[in-house]
């Protein structure tokens, strides 16, 4: 008993440094962010007044914030649908046996290895009407094609989602591929003997067996999308207008450009709560899915 207590004490001593660092780098900022969110802090004007929950009420009356919420929803949903559909398709292709399969798997991962800021800055040029490689490619088939993608709200949104997909889709696919490789080929052979075709095998064997992978990956990829910031920061600066300003981008702008620290903190707290709620729901859903 005494020995046990001693070991527990030692264990606590050992983890204490890590715990202290965690408290200082995570718990303290969260508490401080919540405290600041109750103040109207405008550093440039020297304003620092307690306003209670007024900043939270302002979020839902601020047209820029509403635009950010709308685009974030579109971005997350659009990007995740793309990830799941195209990710599975790509994983199935990579799972086929053909010459150069290993080389292809390596090449496919290259975009994921590049920093998003670099990709986004390059994409700003890629989607340019005059100099961009996207339009250059389209003009092979339609020489009269002209479109500056980043100046219209709709096409700019599509471009941002496309860039996000281009970067992270391969990683999603590779992780799905890992799940595919755990499926025994015996099951497909048995299904084939029973008369099932390729499509039926996919829906009755493949999809159910990788559904938990898809769900777990979707949870994390959704979280990353909700807090995405760098793609619009470097590619569109939230424009045209405010049409591609993701919530995380809005927080950064309010906090570090406009120096409205209190308001930025209130948006951050709301985003934190949304993330926590989604995480809890997703984890619960993941536990229930079991084939």
């Amino acid at each position: 008993m005494y020995e046990n207590k001693k070991y527990i004490t030692i264990a606590w001593i050992l983890v204490l440094p890590a715990l202290l660092i965690r408290v200082f780098t995570t718990i303290y900022p969260i508490i401080e962010t919540f405290r600041i969110s109750l103040y109207d802090v405008k550093l440039l004007r020297g304003i620092n007044e307690f306003v209670g929950f007024q900043n939270y009420l302002n979020i839902f009356q601020d047209s820029k914030m509403i635009a950010s919420i709308n685009f974030t929803v579109i971005f997350v949903v659009g990007s995740m649908i793309g990830h799941i559909v195209l990710g599975i398709a790509l994983a199935l292709i990579l799972n086929m046996k053909f010459a150069g399969q290993k080389v292809l798997r390596t090449i496919v991962l290259l975009p994921w290895a590049m920093p998003m800021v670099v990709i986004a800055m390059a994409s700003k040029w890629a989607f340019n009407n005059e100099y961009g490689l996207v339009n250059d490619f389209i003009r092979w088939f339609n020489p009269s094609f002209h479109l500056d993608w980043l100046i219209h709200a709709t096409t700019a949104s599509h471009a941002v989602i496309a860039v996000d997909l281009w970067k992270d889709l391969p990683f999603f696919a590779i992780l799905i591929l890992a799940g595919l490789q755990f499926i025994s080929s015996d099951m497909y052979e048995a299904a084939k003997i029973d008369g099932a075709g390729v499509i039926r095998s996919f829906f009755t064997i493949t999809l159910p067996l990788i559904s938990k992978n898809i769900l777990v990956l979707s949870i994390f990829f959704t979280m990353w999308r909700i807090t995405s910031f760098d793609v619009v920061y470097a590619m569109t600066s939230g424009g045209p207008g405010e049409s591609t300003a993701l919530i995380a981008y809005r927080i950064t702008t309010e906090a570090f450009t406009n120096l409205n620290t209190g308001y930025a903190s209130s948006i951050a707290v709301v985003l934190f709560l949304v993330m926590a709620l989604l995480s809890a729901l997703s984890m619960r859903a993941a536990k229930r899915v079991d084939y």
Partner: protein, 424 residues
């Protein structure tokens, strides 16, 4: 027992390693060899500052730095500011607002100077550096509008004087059969004559935080007031920009995604006949497109009047600096003749001080056009408010909506006036 002692030793070691990891972080600044004579006479300690600079990527930065160290007697460590304007402003705001003392001197632009001058983050310089005999050599209106706080403190030393000038492609001007652009009519005629075969008469950078410069320039040219959108001149200016893009189609709407880098590339490639641009043409020189027979600056045309904006990047002293004595030595050098001439020689920055600009070492076509501009134009600092970037961004968003027919002229003017009232 032995096991327990080992565990405690391991814990202590882990803690020590962790704590040691928290200190002694290299600042990442770049240390150059100090020159001789850089000592603080009072304490015997070496004079040393850290400069947050936008010039570090300039090929002549090393030469400028050596000269500054030698002449000021201060060892200068430097930290490169981000090249992206948003990132740069965010970093500098964070440094100053958090009381970070790792940087002593910073280079800031007008947007930041306007935002920070009343925030108490910058030390006043009128008693230590900018004495009256020096201040009177700088453009007075600019010093008052941009660098003087509500309390009357002067917080920055302008490192140069720049104009948002009109740059033309001479070949296109010749092709249009025109000698110069003197009036609004000339301006419109040249735009129309040069718009053909996928090329445009006018190029802009209409990204939402950049377009502010051009809106304000046209407002000035039409005799309007950027803070009064009931003013007929202001309305005319914004309508003129709309007509350029949508009625006459002499400039592309596409450019609402463009910052200066995109605009300049298109101008260099011959897609535009003229642009408004800051500086002394370094980008065009690097592209071998600078010259009186190619791209060069001309005087502003007269619409309702001739009017031009001036700007600068100013050296400011961080209030949290621990090296103020050395920083003031550097600032005295920067505000002096040698400092201003070094900026001209190494960076092509036109001296802000009138007496230095008239120096024989400052010569060439830039001096000729700058002298003409000074003699014939109303010269203003740009219209800015304390929440500068927020205001600029909001006006830019409104402009982009108007240009894309998402609101009428009346709606634009009403909302623009609301933005002025909100941020003033």
């Amino acid at each position: 027992m032995k096991k327990t002692k080992t565990s405690i030793f391991a814990a202590a070691t882990a803690l020590t390693v962790l704590l040691s990891g928290c200190s002694g972080v290299n600042s990442g600044s770049n240390n150059e060899d100090p020159n001789s004579g850089t000592t603080n006479s009072a304490s015997g300690k070496q004079d040393e500052i850290t400069l947050y600079t936008i010039q570090s990527t300039n090929p002549n930065f090393e030469a400028w730095l050596n000269e500054a160290q030698e002449k000021s007697g201060v060892k200068i460590n430097w930290v490169a500011a981000p090249t992206d304007s948003d990132t740069r402003q965010q970093k500098i705001s964070t440094i100053l607002s958090s009381g970070d003392s790792s940087v002593d001197i910073l280079e800031i632009n007008d947007e930041m100077a306007t935002s920070f001058k009343n925030a108490g983050w910058l030390d006043p310089l009128q008693d230590s550096v900018l004495t009256s005999d020096i201040v009177e050599q700088f453009p007075q209106g600019y010093m008052e509008d941009m660098l003087t706080s509500d309390k009357g403190d002067i917080i920055g030393v302008p490192s140069y004087s720049g104009y948002l000038g009109l740059w033309v492609d001479q070949k296109k001007l010749d092709a249009a059969g025109m000698k110069s652009i003197e009036t609004e009519e000339d301006f419109v005629n040249f735009m129309k004559a040069s718009t053909k075969d996928g090329q445009y008469g006018y190029g802009g950078s209409w990204e939402k935080t950049y377009v502010f410069n051009e809106i304000a320039t046209f407002v000035n040219l039409f005799g309007g007031d950027y803070f009064d959108w009931t003013n007929e001149g202001s309305r005319k200016a914004i309508k003129f920009m709309y007509d350029m893009a949508n009625t006459w189609k002499v400039t592309p709407v596409d450019q609402i995604a463009d910052k200066y880098e995109q605009m300049n590339q298109k101008f260099i490639d011959g897609k535009y006949a003229m642009v408004f641009m800051w500086g002394t043409g370094n980008d065009y020189k690097e592209a071998n497109r600078y010259g009186m027979d190619q791209i060069h600056m001309i005087n502003m045309p007269r619409f309702a009047k001739r009017s031009i904006f001036t700007d600068s990047w100013s050296y400011v002293l961080n209030s949290s600096s621990k090296n103020k004595e050395a920083a003031i030595k550097f600032l005295k050098y920067a505000a002096g003749e040698e400092g201003e001439l070094s900026g001209w020689k190494n960076f092509g920055r036109y001296p802000a001080r009138a007496d230095v600009a008239s120096h024989e070492a400052v010569s060439g076509d830039v001096k000729v056009i700058y002298t003409e501009i000074q003699a014939t134009n109303e010269i203003h600092g740009r219209p800015m408010l304390p929440q500068t970037m927020e205001f600029i961004s909001e006006m830019g968003t409104l402009f982009q909506n108007y240009i894309q027919d998402q609101m009428t002229l009346d709606e634009f003017c009403t909302k623009a006036q609301e933005a002025v009232e909100k941020y003033k």
